[in-house]
């Protein structure tokens, strides 16, 4: 009597179930995770894996109609069941058709990595309830994390699905800029067909397991690695520092490059790689890594800024005295004298911890060797930088390395640095086999860069007319074991620490300090979000001290076209900060009154309302350093346009924005364009996707290239500038003064790119070097903005619920308002996380249930107000928005908490325990709310 399904734990069992309406049979270990079986055995890579722990919901599938995390289901458990993945939703018309269209209309998919989980969850809901309530939608989506969108557009897309929304039509020629065009790469994202880093598996590929330091600092030596290989059939090689043919060193800023692919003798942070074991995936899975032949000797480690700076502290890098990576400095006027002249002076010390990017796609990719060239296909924000570093590591020419970027499931700065690439590149190069690697969530968290922890001291003074007079600012940043983007943080912060205000006397000094912790790198805003937490709270206190309204104080001091910044730059046209603040004035006054009325009425009750404001400015592009982008655009003989769009789209929308810009410059409709990816083998360098530079820099290059191609076409037809070009199949029809001319394209010769006409344009924003006092022109263009947040604080529990965010941003020209709102909402969500819940402690909570990011239940409605004060430099006047969006949210929330409770939070996050103890401390000091 054996009715049970029995098999050896590791042995293969035959499992039959219905998959997307068809019977399937698969032979896998019964205990294998269903997510893995779907992706690796059945090739359905639409189901994403973000955590393998049920923490992110990316792998959601329907199991007998119920949404479940497929990473938590054993293959043996679906025997005889019905499983539906995102690929099978297409059969669930009309619910799914409407949902897909609604997602596209609303811009509900940004990077797209959470989209399959969202779609599956939402479909299950909509099949039960045609018109669900907002709270039902939140309940349905609450188990799926998204790091890009801030959830509002997803919630709205599900709420609107029943209305059968139609995606906006392709705008008319010349009308692309400013149109709410659905993202051009959206269809793949809402179908589950988008290819991310982990979604292609070459035949005969090997896998890599990286052996990493379990200690913050350790000496180590290997045992018999050759014997380990022999003892493990299926293992091809163990690679260490000794196997690197070129330089065992990489880094995003070559002057400071200091990070080894594999540590030699000593590791400098927990999670640092010492060896890579290459072999068959199944073999690696079964190895007990605690028995890998390496002996560790834990060494005393530096784990704080103070310990790094302490006299006599051991140097983490021999050449860097006092563990100082770099200093930053901007000085203007006479701060000490000016502070003594001020009518009111306030000061404070602020701290922030490590913050994890928590994109839902862990790093992944593969490499293969083709003769003497090497291809790396991986998720990245910076293909050309990857190419150059991989070439140095392998000791080959950069042209021998080709980087094929996949879609990126969120980046926010961390995918600028190398992750899996050196391991797969080295292994594929050495073994001449394709080699693939997919980081686990744990590996991603312990080994990739974080937002720099900061300690900031700030004094600010104003004269009795309410004018800011002087700011004295110092900040130390914990840059961790390696340089990464530490120099950029230290350089950007002193330029920005004034906020978007006129500060005549100013001193900002920064230091990036090494510790034996995970490297601090780039994270949306390069230190400026941390700075704004201090600066915008200090200005609130200053306004209070002066007896001024907090918004009016900011309006009075806002930069304008003629006032110099703290680097002495006079910005000229396009300074929209005052307009942003003025746009918030009606909502501000209304919210102030509402809060006062509510709090007056809630005597004895535990809830308090508060409203807070914070502003920001942020320079687009590199700080006083060249950062050109080159766009190539070609007219094909079939009448279509090839746009070599190398500005990596990490969800922010550059594929769409750059096309919109180029389309209007060329005078062609967007649907004539074929996008060519940022593959280094086929497209020119558009630089990295960081520093809010792609709309400005690559956009400008696209505008120039489009204009030049237009000129070339008109020249070919011997027509003047005002002629209208119609792009038809294999021909152009050019109209001028009522005359029409036809240019047949298929008879024209093709150039070396295979195009009838090709034009390339390069743009590098005009800046000037900063002098020893940081004076000069650091950026050609700044973006401006201000957020107003409303909160409800439970003073007995210390919990905060953000009830509304109103965000005004000067974007110069809104190339695509839907995508800009997406950036604002997503930035606001990250700011909310930073204010209320996010902090990473190395060695603790290296997962997505201890490291919390906001869920669909935490985000309020965000009202975006787009101000268009055009930049004379940007394409069609446009400015950046990516990082600008995150900067003011956290300080606005902290100011709102203060407004509600009288408590000033100087160390984020304001977790319930932290806020409650601050409230109790204030009460004990006898300061009750008036």
């Amino acid at each position: 009597m054996l009715t049970a399904t029995n098999s050896e734990t590791g042995a293969v069992a035959t499992i039959q179930f219905s998959l997307n309406g068809k019977p399937v049979e698969v032979a896998v270990p019964a205990i294998e995770r269903l997510s893995r079986v779907l992706r690796e055995n059945l090739g359905l890579t639409g189901t994403k894996v973000g955590c393998d722990a049920g923490d992110c919901g990316a792998c959601t599938v329907l199991l007998n109609r119920d949404p479940v995390c497929s990473c938590l289901v054993a293959a043996g458990q679906v025997e005889g069941c019905e499983v539906v993945t995102v690929e099978g939703l297409a059969q669930r018309a009309p619910v799914y058709d409407r949902l897909q269209k609604s997602f596209l209309c609303h811009g509900a998919a940004q990077c797209g990595i959470c989209t399959p989980g969202m779609l599956v969850s939402a479909t299950a809901l909509l099949e039960r309830e045609r018109s669900p309530s907002e709270s039902a939608v939140k309940d349905a989506l609450g188990g799926v994390l998204c790091r890009c969108t801030g959830y509002r557009k997803i919630i709205d897309a599900v709420l609107d699905a029943a209305q059968s929304p139609l995606p906006p039509k392709c705008p008319d020629t010349g009308k692309a800029v400013g149109a709410r065009l659905a993202r051009l790469d959206g269809q793949a994202k809402v179908s589950g067909t988008e290819i991310f880093g982990a979604d292609e598996i070459p035949l005969e590929t090997l896998s890599v397991h990286v052996v990493r330091s379990p200690y913050n600092r350790a000496r180590f030596c290997f045992g018999d690695l050759a014997a380990f290989v022999v003892a493990h059939p299926g293992v091809s090689a163990v690679l260490t520092a000794a196997d690197i043919p070129g330089r065992n060193c990489f880094g995003v800023i070559s002057r400071f490059a200091d990070q080894p692919v594999f540590a030699e003798l000593e590791t400098r942070f927990r999670g640092e790689a010492v060896a890579a074991v290459v072999g068959e995936s199944n073999t690696l899975q079964k190895i007990d890594w605690t028995r890998f032949p390496v002996q560790w000797e834990e060494l005393p480690a530096i784990t704080s800024i103070d310990a790094g700076l302490a006299p006599g502290a051991p140097r983490i890098h021999e050449s860097r005295e006092q563990n100082l990576l770099v200093r930053g400095r901007v000085v203007h006027g006479d701060v000490d004298r000016a502070l003594s002249e001020c009518h009111a002076v306030v000061e404070g010390e602020f701290e922030t911890g490590f913050i994890e990017h928590a994109y839902i796609e862990p790093e992944a990719g593969f490499a293969r060797r083709l003769g003497n060239t090497l291809e790396v296909q991986a998720c990245t924000q910076s293909p050309y930088m990857d190419r150059d570093d991989i070439a140095k590591i392998l000791g080959i020419a950069p042209e021998s390395v080709r980087i094929i970027p996949t879609a990126v499931g969120g980046g926010f700065g961390s995918k600028l640095d190398l992750s899996v690439q050196p391991f797969v590149a080295l292994a594929a190069w050495k073994l001449n086999r394709p080699v693939r690697m997919v980081y686990s969530r744990h590996e991603s968290i312990i080994s990739t860069t974080k937002r720099h922890p900061s300690r900031i001291r700030m004094r600010a003074g104003a004269t009795n007319d309410g004018k800011l007079h002087a700011v004295d600012f110092t900040a130390d940043f914990n840059t961790g074991a390696y340089s990464s983007w530490g120099p950029t943080v230290a350089a950007r912060v002193p330029v920005h620490a004034s906020g978007p205000y006129r500060v005549p006397h100013y001193r900002a000094l920064t230091r990036a300090v090494h510790t034996n912790l995970v490297p601090g790198g780039a994270f949306r805003g390069f230190g400026v979000p941390q700075t704004a937490i201090a600066q915008e709270q200090i200005y609130d206190e200053l306004a209070d001290r002066l007896g001024m309204d907090r918004l009016e104080f900011r309006i009075l001091n806002a930069l304008d076209e003629t006032t110099p910044t703290v680097t002495g730059q006079v910005l000229g046209a396009g300074v929209g900060i005052r307009a942003c603040l003025l746009a918030l004035r009606p909502a501000w006054q209304q919210a102030r009154n509402q809060c006062a009325a509510y709090n007056a009425g809630s005597q004895g009750g535990p809830l308090r309302k508060g409203v807070g404001i914070a502003a920001m400015w942020y320079g687009c592009g590199n700080t006083s350093l060249p950062n050109p982008s080159t766009i190539r655009v070609g007219l094909k003989s079939d009448g279509r346009i090839a746009l070599h769009q190398g500005a990596i789209d990490i969800g922010q929308g550059s594929n769409t924005i750059i096309t919109q810009i180029c389309a209007d410059a060329l005078g062609a409709p967007v649907d004539c364009f074929d996008l060519v990816s940022g593959d280094t083998g086929i497209s020119p360098d558009c630089g990295k996707t960081s520093a809010s530079r792609q709309t400005l820099v690559t956009g400008k290059a696209a505008q120039m290239a489009g204009t030049e191609l237009r000129r070339a076409i008109l020249q070919l037809a011997n027509c003047c500038e005002c002629a209208v070009i119609e792009f038809q199949r294999c021909k152009l029809i050019i109209s001028e003064n009522g005359q029409q001319r036809t240019v047949s394209l298929d008879t024209l010769p093709q150039d070396k790119y295979g195009y009838v006409l090709t034009r390339e344009a390069t743009f590098d924003p005009p800046t000037s070097p900063l002098d020893q006092n940081g004076q000069g022109v650091p950026y050609a263009v700044f973006g401006f903005g201000a957020h107003m947040t409303e909160v409800l604080v439970d003073i007995e529990l210390g919990t905060v619920s953000v009830t509304k965010i109103t965000a005004a941003h000067d974007v110069g020209r809104a190339i695509n308002p839907t995508l800009i709102e997406g950036q604002i909402e997503g930035g606001a969500a990250q700011g909310l996380g930073m204010a209320l819940m996010e902090e990473f402690f190395p060695g603790k909570g290296e997962n997505l249930h201890d490291y919390l990011i906001p869920t669909a239940g935490d985000m309020p409605r965000v009202e975006s107000i787009l101000i268009e004060d055009p930049s004379p430099i940007g394409p069609f006047g446009a400015k950046g928005i990516g990082e600008q969006a995150v900067i003011p949210t956290a300080p606005a929330i902290l100011n709102a908490i203060h407004d509600a409770t009288g408590v000033r939070i100087r160390r984020v996050p304001a977790t319930p325990d932290h806020l409650r103890s601050a409230i109790l401390a204030r009460r004990q000091n006898g300061v009750e709310r008036a």
């Binding site: 205990i31 025997e79 210390g798 869920t855």
Partner: protein
């Protein structure tokens, strides 16, 4: 070995001869597994029909061990189960509620298990079955510490039994976490409360989770509340002495001091809610 029996008999016979790890909803099993390879024998009980469903007899409501949180939410149950339903809604997200089982929640015995305080407040018992027979143990005894239970390696938790003595009681559950959805509780409180015809508390059962190695009943407070009139703010009667049974720890989610303080607030609010709704 991987065993997936169809009957409880097969399951316990397997356990009688082999020390196997039990798998049901997988919501604790797989996260704990991480990237490691499964080496131990696995007894996957998810196919055992007898462990499914919620039934009742005159004395007990019987919740099969494989009952998921979604099933608990969807099943009409007496008012005293409101706290359990509210807790079910607060467990992870809907994906977790669709898979996580009541037996798994109890056997995993996390101090932060959201299902435990409401079941403690319902005076639930668990039925443990082995090849040698079955036994019933009060839940309050079954969980002995942080991830420690009385479950023997040869036993399966077959069902949870809730005595039908105060079914019409008012009940509520409050969870405190640092975000909405997918969050491990900093503290949570379940209250089941009945009153006599004069609107005086006749029984109060109060359990607090995430504030000790295992969830605790506040028996002193329960005694002190007997006879209290519902009209007043009964929450105001809670003193710090009443929470002395708790021994919270500090971790990444909150400090111990905060947990103690927040638990008092939550208990008071839950009592007031029950009194208001009574």
């Amino acid at each position: 070995m991987y065993f997936r029996p169809k009957t409880l008999e097969e399951a316990v016979q397997t356990l009688a001869v082999q020390r196997a790890q039990i798998l049901s909803g997988g919501t604790d099993f797989f996260p704990a597994l991480g990237e490691r390879h499964v080496e131990r024998p696995i007894l996957d009980v998810s196919g055992v029909r007898e462990l499914r469903g919620i039934t009742s007899d005159p004395a007990f409501i019987r919740i099969g061990g494989l009952t998921t949180w979604s099933e608990i939410i969807a099943t009409p149950l007496p008012r005293a189960f409101d706290a359990l339903k509210l807790a079910a809604r607060e467990i992870g997200g809907v994906q977790i509620q669709n898979r996580g089982t009541i037996a798994g929640n109890l056997c995993n015995a996390s101090p932060a298990a959201d299902g435990v305080p409401p079941l403690l407040a319902l005076n639930a018992e668990v039925e443990l079955v082995s090849a040698a027979g079955s036994r019933r143990v009060p839940l309050a005894q079954f969980i002995v510490g942080n991830r420690e239970t009385l479950l023997r390696p040869d036993e399966v938790l077959s069902c949870v039994l809730v005595p039908r003595d105060i079914e019409d009681a008012a009940s509520t559950f409050l969870k405190l976490g640092a975000r909405r959805y997918l969050v491990i509780s900093i503290a949570m409180v379940a209250v089941v409360l009945t009153a006599d015809k004069a609107q005086r508390v006749s029984a109060a059962r109060i359990a607090v989770g995430s504030c000790s190695a295992r969830a605790q009943r506040l028996t002193e407070l329960e005694r002190d509340l007997i006879g209290t009139h519902l009209s007043g703010e009964i929450g105001a009667l809670v003193t710090s002495t009443h929470l002395q049974a708790l021994s919270p720890k500090s971790d990444v989610r909150a400090t111990a001091e905060y947990r103690q303080d927040a638990a008092r607030t939550l208990v008071a609010r839950a009592l007031d809610t029950c009194a208001r709704n009574y």
